[in-house]
């Protein structure tokens, strides 16, 4: 079930990070426009899939606008956007979902820390992204093959 409190909290965190970035000297007009779009997407009544896409699209604009002024404010905004998406799709309803989000935030912060320290961001980005995507594809593929073999009913 959707929790309006969690939704409000996620939007507030996104807003707070936006104001923090303006305080740091960012372009307030771009941040303000991005923030308005993010608010609209957060409370729009549309089909679930569409809402998810709206939140992500407007959220990423906000993250980039905020991150231009303050990188770590952008990281926090990103976590709030993903939190809002997961809450919208009712993924935070149980403790497993909340643990999943917490783990995601930890890994995101770790990744952000690495990006912040790196001198050559492009190579690092390609490497880390390839590792993450490859790990997911291999894990999902292997498990799918195992399940199909296990339940195919073909006698070996």
């Amino acid at each position: 079930m959707k929790n309006p409190f969690v939704r409000g909290l996620a939007v507030m965190i996104g807003g707070a990070s936006a104001f923090f970035s303006v305080y740091q000297g960012g372009s307030w007009s771009i941040v303000l426009i991005a923030l308005v779009f993010f608010f609209l997407a957060a409370f729009i009544r549309a089909e679930s899939d569409d809402t998810t896409i709206f939140i992500i699209a407007s959220g990423e604009v906000l993250v980039i606008a905020v991150g231009a002024a303050s990188f770590w404010a952008g990281v926090i905004a990103q976590c709030s956007v993903i939190g809002l998406v997961l809450e919208d799709r009712e993924c935070l309803a149980d403790s497993r979902g909340r643990s999943f989000f917490a783990l995601y935030c930890i890994v995101t912060f770790t990744g952000a820390f690495i990006f912040d320290l790196a001198n050559q961001v492009l190579l690092l980005f390609l490497a880390v992204t390839a590792v993450v995507a490859g790990a997911a594809i291999i894990f999902a593929g292997v498990q799918e093959i195992q399940e199909r073999r296990m339940y195919s009913g073909v006698k070996k």
Partner: protein
């Protein structure tokens, strides 16, 4: 496993961000792209974990009303499914059917309830003989971001095995009057053990049928003609009453139910059935050698109700009885009124002769003739309420007797003595059953 629409949207945004990151070289763009890739990967792995949990907890119980059934027969199958569901996951279970079989509904499937259970109940019809085993289930699992499917055909999800006995093992229709010449029809591999006849061998006969003792005794090749089951589906005639007669609804309902039952039985036993729906001499519908029960039932349900008879047979000239009357009496005519004078009888005889001389053949008579010619029949089952004019029934009865086709008639509750007399007169030697 495949992405849902929202995930596809995330991937499109990620691609744009990645391109922008490479062009701009800004760490924020790189981070945003990375975090979305990480989100997709994390959601995919989460989905696989949850799907694995559901799949490993899945249990199936399947039962059939009958373990042994006839080819083309119907049994009801009940499949129970249970698992440990995860919140937010939509699980759809579909029962897989053995090859060459039918089910109603065509793809038995159900969405698993919140408690993780689902029950599928459907009718199952095997089309080929032999053992027929249910091969398992197909699970389709989806959450907000991904969906996946899995066919579960291992032992716990298979079965039960049904024993399907052959049904249509029938010999093709024989034209027995042509004995002594080689029959055109190919020999059936199915034959009984009874001997229909013994005859001289003709080139092309099956050598396995040679009767060696008779051959030795008569010094010429003698073969045995074995008996076999012949599959001749009946013709069911439903005579619908005229709308101008008041017919009790329960009588009509009984009649239709009985016709539907007879149709189903005929298809089950003979493989097909022919339906002839009439209202007096008005032909409503003709269905020839139909094998689909549903189509027959639909035709009966839609057509079988009292009809306005557009054409009537009150002035039908019964040529057979006219000819019979003239033949019996010679020059005069045997008429019920014995005390009538000769001129009257002579006049009637003249009228009869004139009627017989004109080439008058009613359309209904031609239709019945064509229908009976086009079908190989042993039996006609006639359902009627015997209300109003019965000339058309007399015509069917007459043509059936001429072709040596057995005619059974069934009706609902006839109490009037005069009516019974009239029906018996119309149907001549036909047996009549009263539907209780």
């Amino acid at each position: 496993m495949g992405p849902e629409r929202s995930t596809q949207g995330i991937w499109v945004i990620t691609t744009f961000l990645g391109a922008a990151a490479i062009l701009a070289g800004d760490p924020t763009f790189f981070f945003a792209t990375f975090s979305l890739v990480l989100l997709s990967a994390a959601l995919a792995m989460r989905f696989r974990f949850r799907m694995h949990r559901i799949v490993t907890s899945a249990r199936v119980t399947r039962s059939s009303d009958r373990k042994v059934l006839q080819q083309g027969g119907i049994t009801t199958v009940t499949t129970g499914f249970s698992c440990s569901p995860d919140p937010g996951m939509i699980i759809r279970v579909r029962d897989l059917l053995p090859p060459a079989s039918l089910s109603d509904p065509a793809n038995p499937s159900a969405v698993v309830a919140a408690d993780g259970s689902a029950t599928l109940r459907y009718s199952f019809t095997p089309l080929i003989a032999g053992s027929s085993c249910f091969p398992g289930i197909a699970l389709t699992i989806s959450d907000a971001f991904f969906s996946g499917s899995l066919v579960m055909g291992s032992d716990p999800f298979r079965g039960p095995e049904l024993d399907v006995h052959p049904h249509a093992a029938y010999e093709r229709f024989h034209i027995r009057k042509d004995y002594g010449t080689q029959e055109k029809d190919a020999h059936s591999i199915f034959h009984g053990y009874g001997i229909r006849s013994i005859r001289e061998y003709i080139a092309g006969d099956d050598l396995r049928s040679i009767d060696w003792k008779m051959t030795a005794k008569h010094d010429k090749m003698i073969i045995r003609e074995y008996t076999a089951v012949e599959n001749l589906p009946p013709l069911i005639v439903l005579d619908l009453p005229d709308r101008s007669f008041l017919v009790p609804e329960e009588h009509m309902a009984k009649l239709i139910n009985e016709v539907a039952g007879e149709t189903v039985t005929a298809i089950r036993n003979c493989g097909s059935v022919s339906l002839f729906l009439i209202s007096g001499i008005n032909v409503i519908d003709i269905i020839l050698e139909e094998t689909d029960v549903q189509r027959c039932i639909t035709a009966i349900r839609t057509s079988a109700h009292p009809r306005f008879r557009l054409n009537h047979a009150y002035r039908w000239k019964d040529r057979a009885s006219m000819r019979g009357s003239i033949r019996k009496s010679g020059d005069g005519v045997s008429f019920q009124k014995k005390d009538e004078s000769g001129p009257f009888l002579t006049k009637i005889a003249q009228i009869y002769r004139r009627s017989l001389a004109s080439p008058y053949v009613p359309a209904f008579s031609t239709q019945v003739n064509r229908l009976l010619s086009s079908l190989k029949l042993e039996e006609i089952v006639l359902y009627s309420l015997f209300e109003g004019d019965l000339s058309h029934i007399g015509e069917i009865s007459h043509q059936a007797q001429a072709r040596r086709i057995r005619l059974r008639s069934k009706t609902v509750a006839v109490q009037d003595g005069e009516k019974i007399f009239l029906i018996k007169k119309t149907l001549r030697k036909v047996t009549m059953e009263i539907i209780p």
